[in-house]
């Protein structure tokens, strides 16, 4: 209203200064510009005030007789009415234009806000992180605290395709908040579905490991056990046998099978330890020769000669003696098992930043397609006889090499046979 009064006063003032050299149409235009300008500047009410007051001032000051409300020429009534009608028509058009512009700006802002919300949410993988991000983002956007509560609370319901997911607890409502709610619900559903799939996958994997383990344990553990039990029971029950040479055979059986059982249990325990992620290798800088020496003295009397050659200038390697000993033992035993009586070799050479060790045999070798698979847990080669293990030996090898930051792979040995190679890096990432 004040703006309208002010506009009328300004127009009257200008008109008063110029009253000497203008006729009626000049003053009509002057007040029309004032009224329309007010409409643009302050809206419809101010413009209405400006045009009515303007018209009255015009009548009072400029229409003859001046300083009176009397209208001398009656056609001037038409001028006044036309002035009022036009100023109000223009004012309402301008007003609508203003509203539309404001709407467009508002819509654009909301679209941008929804877009940035979607972007922020898509960066979150877990449903928990997504909840936090949605709360943070919306609180900052709306400048009021926003919380995401379980479904059924008071607020905007977050509904997914398979039912309610939660509630967007915020003061107020309206289409924009609803749209935000839909956006959050969509993202939340995506995250929840992904998590569910992940859980199902892990569970399936665990189930698979468990069933293979169960199969392995029930078969591989019970075979030696039944031999031990049978042999021992014979010794206890059959008196005659205790005096015959069979006694030695039975006792030997018991010893052999117990050893095998012990080996199996040991492998299982090692795998669990290595798999659990809790094992920190006790890395000590030492010559590879020392570990090789322990393995050779322990293994050769049992399995036969090993063609070992180590260059004299091998650098010291940071390694866990116990683990690498086991790694070499597993690889060498494996080589003897599959080497068909051929030469088993153990060599090492210095590479840039690492030492590479090779264990080779002269057996049938390993076909290309299986060279990765043999390192999997519980994997057993198709022709494996019952005297083999549970299929953990090479899996343990891989776990040990990885703990040292190296890698293990298989190549074809020159002249046939398998060549197992692994690297031990000289610098170990902490």
């Amino acid at each position: 209203v004040l703006a309208g009064v002010g506009a009328a006063a300004v127009c009257t003032g200008i008109g008063w200064r110029c009253r000497g050299w203008g006729d009626l149409s000049f003053f009509v235009m002057l007040f029309l510009v004032g009224a329309v300008g007010t409409a643009l500047w302050r809206g419809r009410l101010a413009s209405a005030v400006a045009s009515i007051l303007g018209m009255l001032c015009f009548d009072y000051f400029f229409e003859s007789p001046a300083f009176s409300m009397v209208v001398e020429n009656w056609p001037n009534f038409i001028v006044f009415t036309g002035f009022l009608a036009i100023s109000q028509l223009v004012a309402s058009l301008v007003h609508q234009l203003r509203l539309k512009a404001r709407d467009a700006v508002e819509r654009e802002r909301e679209t941008a806000a929804l877009h940035s919300l979607a972007e922020a949410l898509s960066a979150q993988a877990s449903s928990e992180g997504l909840r936090r991000e949605a709360e943070r983002h919306l609180s900052a956007l709306l400048k009021v605290p926003v919380r995401i509560l379980p479904a059924g609370e008071f607020g905007i319901a977050l509904t997914g395709s398979r039912g309610p997911l939660g509630t967007l607890a915020v003061e107020g409502g309206g289409p924009f908040l609803e749209a935000c709610g839909r956006q959050v619900a969509l993202a939340l559903e995506r995250a929840l579905l992904a998590e569910e799939a992940e859980r199902a996958h892990t569970k399936a994997e665990l189930e698979h490991t468990r069933s293979t383990l169960l199969g392995a344990v029930s078969h591989d553990f019970r075979t030696p056990l039944s031999t031990i039990k049978g042999a021992a029971a014979t010794l206890v029950q059959e008196e005659a046998i205790r005096t015959t040479p069979d006694l030695l055979d039975l006792a030997t059986m018991i010893v052999d099978e117990s050893t095998r059982l012990d080996h199996l249990v040991g492998n299982l325990l090692d795998m669990m330890r290595l798999d659990g992620g809790t094992l920190r290798p006790a890395l000590e800088l030492q010559p590879l020769e020392e570990v090789v020496g322990t393995v050779l003295t322990r293994l050769e009397p049992r399995v036969g000669p090993i063609a070992a050659s180590l260059p004299d200038d091998l650098p010291l390697v940071p390694l866990d003696g116990v683990l690498v000993e086991q790694l070499l033992t597993n690889l060498l035993e494996n080589a003897f098992r599959h080497g068909e009586g051929g030469r088993v070799g153990l060599t090492a050479r210095a590479l840039e930043g690492a030492v590479e060790v090779e264990v080779s045999d002269q057996g049938p070798g390993i076909p290309d397609g299986l060279r990765e698979r043999v390192f999997e847990k519980f994997y057993r080669s198709p022709g494996a006889s019952a005297d083999g293990g549970v299929g953990l030996g090479l899996a343990i090898c891989r776990a040990i090499v990885r703990l040292h930051g190296g890698r293990i792979w298989i190549e074809e040995a020159p002249g046939g046979g398998a060549s197992f190679r692994f690297t031990l890096p000289l610098e170990v990432a902490p």
Binding site: E284, L285, Q286, P287, G293, L316, D320, G321
Partner: protein
Amino acid sequence: VEDDPGLQKFLVSCLRKQDYAVVVAGSGTEALALARSHNPDLVLLDLGLPDMDGLQVLHAFREWSEAPVVILSARNLDDQKAQALDAGADDYLTKPFGLLELTARLRVAVRHLLRREAPGAVVTAGDLRVDLEARTVSVNGEAVHLTPLEFRLLAALARRRGKVVTHQQLLTEVWGTGQAGQTQYLHLFMRQLRHKIEEDPKRPKYFRTESGVGYRMDVDG
């Protein structure tokens, strides 16, 4: 000292057959009480006991007895083995162990017990002859020249021939204190020693590696 009844029975029958006089304890408390009343010449101690840590038993026993203690421990517990040896145990056996292994270790322990009264200046193993007083070493009659540090390392192992000497014990004895954790020196000097003495350092006869624990000089060579 063993809490598992099966293993206890097996050990007792084996040891009695070899003319050892055996006293059995099934717990740490019982072990310490029986040790006081019987004053054993040799203790076979399982580290996993129901009432207290086997290491505690060892510490308590070591306060008043010098008798050899052979530890029985589960597999893969190298830290525990090293701790027990550092705490004064003489040797260890990893379960499951064979009878031959057990009696061999006990024989070494007993020999130590006897030798403790008359420490010899000359230690021999196979073709290796070490004179601890004259500080000379020979293999197959041929003199081997060692640096002072190498000789100290060799002497530390020779004095406790047949027994495991831990990394820590060797570091303290050969290099003095303040070298804890510097095992790479130890590995390096051991390598040099083997190259000078062993016929084939890749297949050491005299100096065995007990991975993660220490070294042992073999009795027979």
